[in-house]
């Protein structure tokens, strides 16, 4: 979310800490969304085995890669569209 940190001259301690904290929160949320979705897509819910099968493991790896790719392309598209529509106002209702 570095595009939200547009240069105020001298951020206070609290602001700097909040910025780092926020950045890490964004990453943590992305991580937990990925785990939730990829588990749903790849892992068999009957739990007849306690270990990931080879197929499930490979599926998780690919799901993770696709999730990052999708995440990035959605993020780019949203920025483009938001600019084209003239600011986040319209999109956020």
């Amino acid at each position: 979310m570095s595009f939200l940190g547009f240069g105020r001259p001298q951020p206070t301690s609290a602001e700097k800490i909040a910025a780092v904290e926020n950045e890490l929160k964004v990453v943590a949320e992305m991580h937990s969304r990925m785990v939730k979705i990829c588990t749903m897509k790849c892992v068999d819910k009957t739990y007849r085995e306690g270990e990931l099968t080879k197929g499930e493991g490979v599926c998780l790896d690919r799901c993770a890669a696709k999730f990052f790719e999708a995440h990035q392309s959605i993020s780019e598209q949203l920025q483009k569209e938001t600019q084209a529509r003239g600011g986040a106002g319209g999109f956020m209702g």
Partner: protein, 90 residues
């Protein structure tokens, strides 16, 4: 909205609201990713997105934005109508 706050309180409030808006935006963005990825990506024989998947995602983003805008308008109207209704009753 008449908040009955002083100017200083209003400044403080505005800062909080800005934080809230950022948070709100992150939530909308997160749900959009969840929804579009879940709906569009189902093939895990490759680790790169296919053209079909990319197209689906891109259309999903457009449609989600239109949905957000349309429901935002309705929400605004309905909320204003409800507020008026409530004031009449008081």
């Amino acid at each position: 909205m008449d908040t009955g706050l002083t100017q200083a309180e209003n400044r403080e409030l505005e800062q909080r609201l800005q934080k809230r808006q950022v948070k709100e935006f992150m939530n909308v963005f997160g749900s959009l990713v969840d929804n579009c990825f879940t709906s569009c990506v189902d093939d895990f024989t490759s680790k790169a997105m296919s053209n079909r998947e990319n197209g689906c995602i891109s259309r999903c983003v457009l449609k989600s934005m239109s949905t957000q805008t349309r429901l935002g308008e309705r929400f605004g109207e309905l909320n204003a109508a409800m507020a008026q209704e409530m004031q009449k009753r008081m």
